[in-house]
Symmetry: C2
């Protein structure tokens, strides 16, 4: 059994705060703080340029990728780190689309994070593709023989709704299309099996449930059957077969290495690497079980105590990630009042209070405290003070 | 007058090391080490998600960009930070090419850093453009009416040869083309005037002469006449007009902000921001004068003491950046021997010993020591020991 009391102790959680926003930015693992200091002082400071070899900076994007692979159902050597999630979406999407040159439709849904849609729009303009966006519940029916790529975020950033990756991938493959999964709200939050689902491409960020720090680098996975076939549009020297030969012509590195582009973000990768230490003893099945316990307890608690709130997430935990949303007409003001009381969730327009439950450090006491404060604020109307109205007005 | 003794004291320079490789990776400013620690502890650790507003993380890419703008002859609000240099080359090149839709030729030279050429090859394949690569001395003659974009690295990474930015830009404009300048080996090394040269786009990295740390983020500049006209292919949420409206359709932010893509690398930007403190009292003209003093003294010293070495950089300092190369048939082994003696330069195939002189922390004593050790190794043949041969054999 995973020792979640121990994983909770691995974080700095500020006094008096109940942090339910790890689906936006994970808190600081103590090891990450220490590793940043030692990396900067001992590696950059003392090794200087020789750190690239002596401290293993070159190999870091793959080495850290391997640590993430285990959590997403990918194999060793199949994941590489770098850039941002939007850049990785561009790489995976352009690669997938190029593998289906006779088709021009990219299908996504309105529950996708907007940046993924923006990336697809930019690519579509450049390479003569077409982005179709349907409602999440209409995705299955919209998969047809025109489709080049099905691009979805597995867990909806607002509602927590979780797509059925295996079923949608099977359906897409039957139609001759490829799949690209954004795991931003999945990695570190739910159990994942990219290999078992037979997905084609996946990307994700590491500053949410993986706790890599603000702006931490993204990851990208390509199924091994495609890894040597894709020709990236974003060709950089770190994805070259022999970066230090300084050839004038690009020749893609074998496998996932070709998805590297420029010089890796060494300091950020060291911080993330340390954050991944916390995951060492964590079994994905335990993670999922605890996530369900926390979210179910929160839903039950809020529905019992806060009749004004309307659940904005699937009730069936099999169809939900590790976050829960509730709607309230004055959601922004309510969230500001909650934050003032030390319960940190966040707000998504127009009216959603969003709470993320990170099994590594959230526990049932956090759930109880959040329910209690939320119920009190709504019951006595103390959320409805002028200053929160003012804050709401300027946003 | 700039106080270069003070700027030198702002760095940690390891005992016994003469560091002449700041053109590859700058050393650690003491303020950068301290700022990383405090940023992680006090901002990420304590503010958590609220750091985006309270600690100014959102505004950081522009704020740090303004600090770099001063050093490259750009105006406030014209530079933004993020991603890597290769990504920024892609953004600038794709934007420039789209501004000349009726032309398909991108011209560069064989002195450009290979990653820039790889980026251009990838883009050219995607958008039906053509990359032409000529020798650096043939660039002027190759500018013709087919040209969409002239893409050059101002200072050659191997030879230190510096292009005449103003003259080439004028020539390109006369032919109806736009210019993109890579300032990787220029920013923080030479005096720059993008505005005066009337350039169109510029990009650069910050881990060389700007000392932002390994893998520090890149910068991009767009001339204000283009900034609201370009439509990025890489469209991400941070470049959206209203990122937190979560619109499904991309609408580019005004000006240079549209060149932002994904979530910014907050920790790395904090480190870079601290590194930029060292530049506060530095006048670009003083920087350039000191750079010329250092490189001229090194060339004179080596040529007097090391008859086996052949200068691989322009002798005319007006045509040279802040680095000097010398050729030796066993260059790799000689450089390994130098490094073993504490003189850190680097080697570029096939036979170039490369020495970077960073005016912020290198001084004439460094020059004297490097010349002395190099001369001794070559005179007594002690570079030619078996272990250095072995090292050379495996590279």
């Amino acid at each position: 059994m995973t020792d979640f009391a121990a994983t909770r102790r691995a974080f700095h959680l500020p006094e008096g705060i109940t942090y339910l926003d790890g689906n936006s930015l994970g808190p600081m693992p103590l090891a990450a703080r220490d590793r940043a200091a030692s990396m900067i002082r001992d590696e950059w400071g003392e090794m200087l340029i020789t750190g690239w070899n002596r401290a293993g900076w070159y190999a870091q994007p793959r080495r850290v990728g391997d640590r993430i692979a285990r959590l997403i159902g990918a194999g060793p050597g199949e994941v590489v780190m770098g850039d941002t999630l939007s850049i990785k979406v561009f790489q995976a999407l352009s690669a997938a689309r190029a593998l289906r040159p006779d088709r021009r439709v990219i299908l996504s849904d309105s529950g996708n994070f907007p940046s993924d849609l923006y990336v697809a729009q930019g690519l579509a303009r450049a390479v003569d593709a077409e982005l179709r966006v349907v409602a999440p519940e209409d995705v299955t029916a919209a998969i047809d023989g025109d489709l080049a790529v099905l691009m979805l975020t597995e867990v909806d950033y607002r509602t927590g709704r979780r797509h059925d990756m295996a079923a949608l991938t099977e359906r897409a493959h039957a139609a001759g299309a490829l799949t690209l999964w954004d795991l931003a709200h999945s990695a570190g939050a739910v159990d994942l099996d990219l290999t078992g689902a037979d997905a084609d491409f996946a990307v994700g960020c590491t500053y949410k449930y993986l706790n890599g720090g603000p702006g931490a680098p993204a990851f990208i996975w390509t199924h091994p059957r495609h890894a040597d076939a894709v020709q990236p549009i974003l060709q950089g020297w770190m994805g070259h077969r022999a970066p230090f030969a300084f050839d004038q012509d690009y020749a893609a590195a074998p496998g996932i290495e070709r998805m590297r582009v420029g010089t890796p973000p060494v300091i950020a990768l060291a911080v993330l690497d340390a954050a991944m230490d916390v995951w060492e003893g964590v079994a994905p099945a335990d993670l999922r079980a605890r996530s369900i316990d926390l979210t179910e307890a929160f839903i039950a608690g809020v529905e019992a105590a806060c009749p004004d709130l309307v659940l904005n997430s699937p009730r069936d935990s099999a169809r939900r990630g590790s976050q829960v949303g509730f709607r309230h007409p004055q959601g922004y003001a309510v969230m500001q009042a909650l934050i003032a009381e030390g319960i940190i969730g966040d707000f998504r327009a127009p009216d959603v209070l969003r709470f993320g439950f990170a099994p590594l450090y959230n526990d049932l006491e956090d759930v109880g405290r959040a329910v209690e404060v939320l119920a009190r604020l709504l019951r006595d109307g103390s959320w409805d003070r002028a200053k929160f109205h003012q804050l709401a007005d300027v946003t």
